[in-house]
Symmetry: C2
């Protein structure tokens, strides 16, 4: 069997590796427009902040590593045409010094074309000093420009926006983050939890502008300012962290059905066209709570989808489940994460909810280095846990994973409060903060029903 995979990001390459893991004989070719493969775009901010030394560090594999596994990688290569009836794909090199036009036949095609940064429709986005943030090359250009700049505005206060803002601040720039919604991380956090992170960023000297979109970017050839209503903030550079738009052109060309905004796939990662699969940022996921279309442009989602696609291709039964939106990030010393529905999202979906909240500690109270930890839990009125948000300077990610499992298994706050957890003074409290938050939810639920 011959499999051709379009895209060299986490989705494409994990599909390739997984197919090889299950089958030694399948011919696998990966085609990507990018110069580099197998890097972690979510690590770009940490190169700016200096936590990771250089961009080369975040490239985890070279094409040669894949060749060793008998996976062929064509970089800087573009798909020109696909004749899916005959299962022939034409491609050509976009390298300056090469003039290759060739074709390849396949039995199965995997679309892992990812997404492209969403550029808000406004004046000035084409000026020098305005950057998108997606590829490692975007990262290198931002770094180069930032090194000669004094100030920057980051448009969009989602994860990548905040992480980039912190990275630029650590480089020594005056940094403003702007968000059109009235809070940061609006997708994953409720306002009160978002406020903790906002305060932390403001303490680090980052300016946060909420509730105002950038309306216009000012400048002649080079960016000079951003206009927010009647306010004009001068700046040397603007980074657009305003979301990802799924790259669906190839899928359309082949005739794959699209959903609301991305390629429609079933739980086996099959598109509507037989023998065409799709994974990663270019596909639509489904929300575990609402059943609705959802975007999940995360490396971890792509990797999990890739495993399912690979298994389906080699004939092992496997399913991709609706998503819980588990996320975590680290800004400076502060970790924050969330999974499931926010209170706001639950209300929007007309669900009746109660919340539990607790500020506790990450270690026993007397143990040096114990840090405050804030936990918010959202439950429906039967007590079933719908979501959880956590902020602390340590030990957030794994608690989010515990909560992801609790939500996936439909635990009530009551059941969670009765769970047996581990304890030792240097690593936890005798009652874990998530248990304390579950108890608080329980009590609020009792007040409601009594």
């Amino acid at each position: 069997m011959k499999v051709v995979i379009i895209g060299g990001g986490a989705g494409g390459l994990s599909t390739a590796s997984n197919i090889r893991k299950y089958d030694e004989d399948i011919e696998i070719t990966v085609i990507t427009r990018d110069t580099n493969i197998a890097y972690s775009p979510c690590a770009i901010p940490y190169v700016l902040s200096g936590d990771v030394e250089c961009f080369d560090d975040i490239i985890m594999h070279k094409p040669k590593d894949y060749l060793d596994k008998n996976i062929k990688i064509l970089t800087e290569t573009e798909v020109c045409a696909v004749n899916h009836d005959k299962k022939i794909l034409k491609y050509s090199s976009i390298k300056e010094d090469e003039n290759i036009d060739d074709e390849i036949t396949y039995d199965k095609l995997v679309i892992a074309t990812g997404g492209s940064p969403f550029v808000p429709p406004m004046e000035g986005t084409n000026l020098d000093g305005v950057f998108k943030i997606r590829t490692i090359n975007d990262g290198r250009e931002i770094l180069k420009w930032a090194e000669k700049s004094n100030s920057a505005i980051v448009a969009g206060a989602g994860l990548i926006g905040l992480e980039i803002a912190y990275g630029l601040k650590k480089m020594g720039l005056e940094v403003t983050v702007s968000e059109m919604l009235p809070q940061i991380v609006p997708r994953s956090l409720d306002p009160g939890m978002a406020k903790i992170i906002q305060s932390y960023m403001e303490d680090k000297g980052i300016n946060v502008v909420l509730g105002k979109p950038i309306e216009k970017i000012g400048g002649e050839t080079k960016v000079e300012s951003a206009v927010f209503g009647d306010e004009v903030i001068p700046t040397d550079m603007i980074i657009l962290a305003t979301g990802v738009r799924p790259e669906v052109n190839l899928a359309k060309m082949i005739g794959c059905d699209l959903g609301r905004w991305a390629i429609k796939v079933n739980e086996y990662m099959q598109t509507s066209v037989p023998d065409v699969y799709a994974v990663g940022d270019c596909v639509e996921a489904y929300d575990a709570f609402t059943g609705l279309h959802a975007q999940s442009p995360l490396g971890s989602t792509a990797v999990r989808q890739a495993k399912v696609a690979a298994k389906t291709i080699v004939g092992i039964k496997s399913k991709f489940n609706p998503i819980l939106n588990a996320m975590v990030s680290k800004i400076g010393k502060l970790e924050f994460g969330a999974v499931g529905l926010t209170r706001a999202a639950a209300m929007q979906n007309k669900m009746n909810v109660v919340t539990g909240k607790k500020r506790a500690l990450t270690k026993a109270r007397y143990y040096p280095g114990a840090k405050p930890i804030d936990v918010k839990m959202i439950c429906d009125i039967d007590g079933k846990i719908l979501g959880c948000q956590i902020v602390a300077e340590e030990r957030v990610a794994e608690r989010i994973d515990t909560m992801a499992l609790a939500i996936a298994k439909e635990l009530t706050c009551d059941e969670l409060a009765n769970m047996e957890f581990s304890y030792a003074p240097p690593v936890s409290m005798v009652i874990d903060p998530i248990i304390l938050a579950a108890e608080d939810a329980q009590e609020n639920l009792n007040k409601l029903t009594n």
Copy 2:
């Protein structure tokens, strides 16, 4: 209603606090022989190691704090007699300067008498320089003696034994840990995982003697040596960390049924005698896997039992579930934890098992400070997860909690491998190490069944 609680440890005091949380009017009296209350015995090793500054730090509350909640505490007080038919209890002070003999009536009695250190039957345990480790006063005496000593032997390589050994080593003593079984932490870890911790301790200069019990302690009035078969190790002090024996005398006096070795309670923490409850190290728990009697002498278990006892007393329905044996410890920089059955315990119970193992990293590979993490997972031949053991320099405790939840909800390794977890380069790998271990178990299972 009047409740009298015997014992001022985690079990007794949590019962008191929980009753007060649910009911403002119940009269609550706690009677304890100890001078101090509400301290964390599991923190004693961390005072020796210097991680926690002094013993006073680990006392979390004073009797006055409880009086503020209208809970009366009688310290250094002994129960002399109980007439449970009339529900009258006689007590007397054991303070040197007091001569109080009094009685108190009650409606409900809670036995939280804890355990006493098990002293192996051998010659020399009464010599000066031989210590048990249980109360804060034991800790103070060990510290005082260690300050003028050059060498120590710790008998017993369970958690507390290893933690004490590390603490004494950090004080500058020559330290030997001896264990009669052929590995350290035999209760919670399989040999291979135990070996990682043993190597870490040996690297720190701690001598580990396995497979040989101490047969005799040598010395005239003061300890001089320990005898292991034909080997004699000279030493200035010996700490017996050889387990806990439940304190059941009071329960026997009242006529409560005992189980195999401790007070028998039902899932509501009720003893066989009406209106008598028991919690903590003095009661017998049940193992979630084997259904058999199990000891769970952990502060976290006592606290969870206390919550159930308090709820039962005030009339809120609540149950204490069979135990999963979730544990975690930290020796120096190394964290290790376990939950559920070891492979060895599963085999002893004649279960057919497969294991999954993975050595991975605690952060993205390129992220500075990523540490190795070892995960071992034990599954039955239907893939149901029975146990998990984890060793790493960070982020172990919460993963153990995730696994506790996975085991409680009877997940298979297949289901776990499909779980959605959070990801960010500074705090995790794109596929979590426990997912990788679950995948390994899955593959081993496939090999077995194909």
